[in-house]
């Protein structure tokens, strides 16, 4: 299999025979959600999986009854309650001695916004759920409105001059729940992504994965450049890739070089930032502050490098 998301990793006998997201689905070209589900297939192997999907692009991706895009049993829930429904499904799996991995697969709206109360509650109860947020920083399904995951400066259909507010730091919020595992995933770093997916699938209790999911339609970017954009976001320090164990131990997985060039490239390759005219200089102070805090949390003091 030559999925770009797998970074050239070969499909092996350990992989799941059936894809989780089948060919012929209706996702846009370059959709990060598709890539995430491909990566999930690679990591999950032949374990039983149930997908719990709230209203989202992923719910549309399921396609029309009676065919389904998904190669695993899937429950479409209302927008706000996927973690609650997953709690019910996970309880039934557990009481029947089944090793079914119950995976909530939600967009940023269903995670950061409308689904947040039930997400927080399921995390607080430490339900045996893997929650994957594919964050395209927009309500993609409804045509591209702001969410609390939309970064400042991005134009959306309901923030025509660019969103004034900062993106919510969801990983910090989830870490504050002291869940066993929370991590961010870069689709451009296949081995790290695969390792985390595999670890999260195997772990018990509430696990949260935050995936920066390119959305060419909403970001106004080239479909083929999706993974490259993620790489730039990681390289520049804009999207920190790290993991948090039990809300305490912070481990930075991919060391950025904090390149302003990468950051400017990231911004200029997406038309959503055009109007606000954001540059690396505008974003750098906030990125520096974030990393200062992350350094102190991770206990690894690596001075930030500058290209210039």
């Amino acid at each position: 299999m030559n999925e770009p998301v797998l970074g050239g990793m070969a499909c092996t006998a350990l992989d799941r025979a059936e894809p989780i997201i089948r060919r012929g689905n209706t996702n846009c070209g370059g959709c990060g959600m598709s890539s995430t589900l491909q990566a999930l297939r690679h990591a999950v192997g032949n374990r039983a999986v149930e997908l719990i999907v709230p209203a989202s692009c992923c719910a549309v991706a399921g396609g029309g009854f009676p065919q389904s895009t998904f190669g695993v049993p899937t429950l479409m829930t209302t927008f706000a309650c996927a973690p609650a429904a997953a709690s019910g499904a996970a309880a039934v799996a557990s009481m029947n001695g089944e090793d079914t991995r119950v995976v909530c697969f939600a967009g940023d709206g269903g995670t950061f916004d409308i689904g947040f109360a039930s997400l927080s509650a399921a995390a607080e109860r430490n339900e045996d759920i893997l929650f994957i947020c594919y964050d395209n920083e927009i309500y993609g399904n409804t045509g591209g409105q702001r969410s609390s995951a939309t970064p400042a400066g991005a134009v959306t259909t309901n923030t025509p001059d660019g969103k004034p507010e900062q993106k919510k730091d969801i990983l910090a919020v989830m870490a504050a729940h002291r869940i066993p595992y929370a991590a961010s995933i870069s689709l451009a770093h296949a081995e790290d992504a695969h390792r985390k997916l595999a670890f999260a699938l195997g772990a018990k209790g509430f696990r949260f994965l935050h995936v920066l999911s390119p959305c060419p339609t909403g970001w106004k970017s080239e479909p083929a450049l999706g993974l490259e954009l993620v790489r730039l976001a990681v390289r520049s320090g804009l999207f920190p890739v790290y993991e948090i164990f039990d809300g305490k131990r912070h481990v930075v997985n991919i060391e950025p070089d904090f390149s302003d060039e990468a950051l400017d490239m990231y911004l200029s390759l997406q038309r959503r930032f055009q109007k606000s005219g954001l540059t690396a200089t505008d974003l750098r102070p906030a990125i520096d502050r974030y990393w200062q805090n992350l350094r102190s949390l991770s206990g690894r003091i690596v001075p930030a490098r500058r290209d210039a």
């Binding site: 049993p73 706000a80 309880a91």
Partner: protein
Amino acid sequence: MTVQLLSANHGAALAATLAGRANRKGRGFVSGVYPITPSTECMEFLCQQSFEKGRVVRVESEHSAMGVCIGGAAAGARTFTATSSNGLAYMYENCIAAAMLRLPVVMAVVNRTLGPPWNIWADQGDALTLRDHGLVQIYCADNQELFDSVLAAFRLAEDKRVMMPVMVNMEGFILSHTVAQTDVPDQEQVDNFLPLADIPHRMNHVPHTLGQMEVPHQTETHRWQHHEALLGAGKVYADVQREFEKAFGRRLGDAVETYRAEDAQTLIVSMGTIGLTAERVVDALREKGERVGAVRVRLFRPLPAESLRALFAGKKAVAVVERDISLSTGGVLWSEVRNLAAPDTVVQSYMAGLGGGDVRPEHLEKTLADLRSRKTTGAPAVMEAV
């Protein structure tokens, strides 16, 4: 069988507990619960029970409480929740989702006035708002009936011909907090009454998607199938009654309960506890020689229209007395049953005990006096508490 002193809230929870345990050899029992007055005691009681194969999930909202039931039922478990009023309103979206997904969730609904302004007392308007979305609705008048109806609701909901949520309603405080002797069956009897929950479309080893998109002609078909299944639930209910009597040796209330109605010229039609008050009023007025009878609708969805039509035939006047108001229309039950009588029968809407006011015999007597003064059906009237 033991006799226990139980509030209706506790009775509902105990019935759900017995039903939940009865599925221990199946895929178990799951309940999502969240407190709201006056159904709180139901969930508290449930949270004190132990299950060999079951879990009560204490969630953060009613929406999620039903969410847990949806997930549990989609995974094949028997499911139950309880709520009231604004909690039910908050749960609506998922009540409809459970219905459309054809998941047999059983709900105890303790009817309470919707707010604000806040009012914690009884009003059936909270549940009636869900009448159009494919849930069975049963309204109860006393503790035993409530207990029995919750038990029976599992059998009805999980019947493959029905396969949809069942709401069992009781009026807040008036019934929910009334403590009465309740015949409680042994676990073995409940095991015999309730087959293991078998939800044919549950998530299993065959990949399939529940609740995915469909196009208009598919929705049309699904809605019609659901409509027919809900209509058919009336027949299935009769089967459940027979099985109930076989298992427990007592009768499960009819879809429509009648009291001295056959030879009556005037009927009091109601749902819930007003119906029992009406029976006492009927007795009192019969003493005075008035030919009055009472009809109590237990099964509101599906509405037993043919039974009601037969009961209304040849009557002079019908007073529909109910604890709800459909704003700009009048009583909800009235609006549903008024066309079931002959054109020359006066079918008058009376809304009584709105917001939880008492409906005492004198209120009903006043209502009947008003009805006697009418030659034709008038505008819906609110009977104020006196």
